[in-house]
């Protein structure tokens, strides 16, 4: 059986940028912010490309749902090794549930049996879309993968959990979300960037899917968290201990020696 992998990629504000909120309450000011592929999606894409390079998959399709500028993100995905790309174009911010519905439609159209995606996007920090997609498709899932071994249509996935590293067998079709330590993504080489320009990138309007993407959550307000008061520089370990005892944060048992 041939295996097609779908990798959803999101265009987000680059991880090192400290966002500022617009003074009109309209949320983060990202008009001039440096944008990049969500780092977890990059890891998922790298894993998919490696599986294809190992002969375990036949095709890697990168999908983005977002503004026209997300074409740039998809070109990067193509330069990193995706075979083709689809942009579902919309100017609106789409919630994870609707994203999962659109992805489910694309999975069905494409006959894909594996979706590899980031565990979360670093802008909204929702941590939802992967399991939502698995739920809609009725597929098995593995979250926060730090290792994936694929054989005979089963993925043996090591997941990062609060209790340690849990390994599960997930027969395909499945949705697997990528955690930080799954791999180290490559950098696109210049020849691959050139080649990516010739790879197919299809743009489709959101309306073509006939999916209701109206938001279910009303965004009432976005504000800055309270600033922490500037702290105190303590001069010595003894000074530190005295301060912590004063604040009743550590037991005042033994006298300072």
């Amino acid at each position: 059986m041939s295996l097609k992998i779908i990798v959803p990629v999101k265009r987000v504000v680059e991880a090192s940028v400290r966002i500022r909120l617009r003074s009109d309450g309209g949320g983060p000011d990202i008009a001039n912010a440096k944008m990049a592929m969500n780092p977890f999606d990059e890891i998922a894409l790298e894993e998919a490309v490696r599986l294809r390079e190992q002969g375990l998959a036949d095709e890697v399709l990168a999908v983005s749902i977002g503004p026209q500028a997300a074409q740039e993100t998809l070109r990067t995905a193509l330069a990193l090794g995706a075979d083709r790309a689809v942009l579902v174009e919309t100017g609106a911010a789409i919630e994870p549930l609707a994203i999962a519905r659109i992805l489910a439609a694309i999975v069905a159209e494409e006959g894909a049996h594996l979706v590899l995606m980031g565990k979360l996007s670093i802008d909204e920090d929702n941590n939802q879309t992967g399991p939502m997609l698995a739920g809609l498709l009725g597929w098995g899932q593995a979250n926060c993968a730090s290792n994936i071994a694929l054989s005979q249509n089963t993925a043996r996935v090591t997941c990062e959990t609060d209790a340690g590293l849990e390994t599960r067998d997930v027969p395909l079709p499945a949705v697997i979300t990528a955690d930080l330590r799954l791999n180290e993504p490559r950098y696109p080489s210049l020849p691959n960037i050139m080649k990516a320009k010739k790879k197919p990138l299809e743009t489709r309007p959101l309306d073509a899917f006939g999916i209701d993407t109206s938001p279910r959550l009303r965004r009432m307000e976005i504000r800055e968290p309270p600033e922490r008061q500037a702290g105190l520089v303590v001069e010595s370990v003894d000074d530190l201990i005295a301060r912590l005892r004063e604040a009743d944060l550590i037991p005042s048992g033994r006298a300072v020696q």
């Binding site: 991880a15 966002i19 909120l21 994870p96 549930l97 999962a100 979360l120 670093i122 802008d123 909204e124 920090d125 929702n126 939802q128 879309t129 992967g130 399991p131 939502m132 997609l133 739920g135 809609l136 098995g140 899932q141 979250n143 926060c144 997941c159 990062e160 959990t161 609060d162 209790a163 340690g164 590293l165 390994t167 067998d169 997930v170 027969p171 499945a174 330590r181 279910r216 959550l217 009303r218 965004r219 009432m220 307000e221 976005i222 504000r223 800055e224 968290p225 922490r228 702290g231 105190l232 303590v234 370990v237 000074d239 530190l240 201990i241 912590l244 604040a247 944060l249 550590i250 300072v256």
Partner: protein, 309 residues
């Protein structure tokens, strides 16, 4: 309102986060039931029944719920959902896999990792690595929430809620457990610890992390945390990584040792009540955030601190 809380548990013990989620549930207001799904989980259900404010505990005790398979537990929750206005769980690794699946199956948009309850359907959550607070109003008739437990107080004990066994849901497994490489620790859990001692890249090695951080944590009965750099360098296991993509903590006292304070790390700890930073670099971002900053070499300061406590 009728509220169902999915219990998190490890090693036969109810997670301390569940009681904090009950506090969030009480702020929403209504009848609060708890679901415990597992195998040989009677003691866990008994512990859940003691949480103040709990009306009833459902116990789905069956081999098929051993090791918390997300797909099966999601099916169970979906089967119980018609009786509830709100389904909620601590934002643990288990719930992050289960709850969105439940939400999608119910055609509900989940509200992730709430840090405050503003009203029965209005909640605060952090976005952009904690750099903004977003207030949302959930408009679905059933609400699916995960809760950042560190943002809520423990509900306390004293209840004696009835425990009702419930039958498992039939259906395919979709995935199967192979193994767990558990990181065992007698220390308090990171998510609910009163004190956290964290180490960073400046610890240099696994050995020095163990020699400097662990005795201090022992002394303070603290949980141990780490920066991503320390985890990536294998000084310590991934399950203690504090940060945007790891564990989110808000203890009374957070001691950051040799951690510079990348945005992603700060997102995981900056709601701590008091932050202590020990670093040779007075300009490190964490030093500006700290309530008490000590410019010192951790290799000298930590042994001295441990000795003098």
């Amino acid at each position: 309102m009728t509220i169902l809380v999915l219990a998190d548990h490890h090693d036969g013990m109810l997670a301390g986060t569940v009681s904090r989620v009950v506090t969030a549930a009480r702020e929403i207001g209504g009848t609060i039931d708890i679901l415990v799904a597992g195998h040989d989980c009677g003691a866990i259900a008994a512990a859940a029944a003691e949480i103040a404010g709990v009306n009833r505990v459902f116990c789905a005790d069956d081999p098929r719920y051993e090791h918390g398979p997300a797909e099966r537990i999601a099916d169970l929750l979906v089967s119980l959902a018609p009786g509830y206005d709100v389904l909620m769980a601590p934002a643990s690794s288990a719930a992050k896999a289960i709850m969105p699946r439940v939400a999608a199956m119910l055609d509900v948009m989940q509200v992730s990792e709430i840090v405050a309850v503003r009203g029965p359907d209005r909640f605060d959550r952090r976005i952009y690595a904690g750099n903004a607070i977003l207030t949302v109003e959930a408009q679905d008739s059933c609400k699916v929430l995960t809760v950042r437990a560190s943002a809520f107080a423990d509900a306390g004990r004293g209840a004696a809620a009835p425990i009702e066994p419930i039958a498992p849901i039939e259906g395919p497994a979709l995935s199967s457990f192979v193994s767990l490489e558990a990181s065992r620790s007698d220390r308090p859990d990171l998510a609910t610890a009163r004190v956290v001692v964290s180490g960073g890249r400046a610890l240099r090695s696994k050995e020095s992390f163990a020699e400097l951080i662990l005795p201090l944590a022992d002394r303070l009965e603290a949980a141990v945390g780490a920066s991503r750099a320390a985890v990536d360098a294998s000084f310590v296991g991934n399950d203690v990584q504090v940060g945007q993509t790891g564990r989110i903590v808000a203890p009374d006292l957070y001691i950051a040792c040799g951690i510079s304070g990348a945005i992603q790390h700060l997102a995981g700890m900056k709601d701590s009540r008091v932050i202590v930073a020990i670093n040779t670099d007075a300009q490190a971002p964490i030093m500006r955030l700290a309530d008490f900053a000590l410019v010192a070499d951790i290799f000298e300061a930590l042994p001295e601190l441990t000795r003098k406590l």
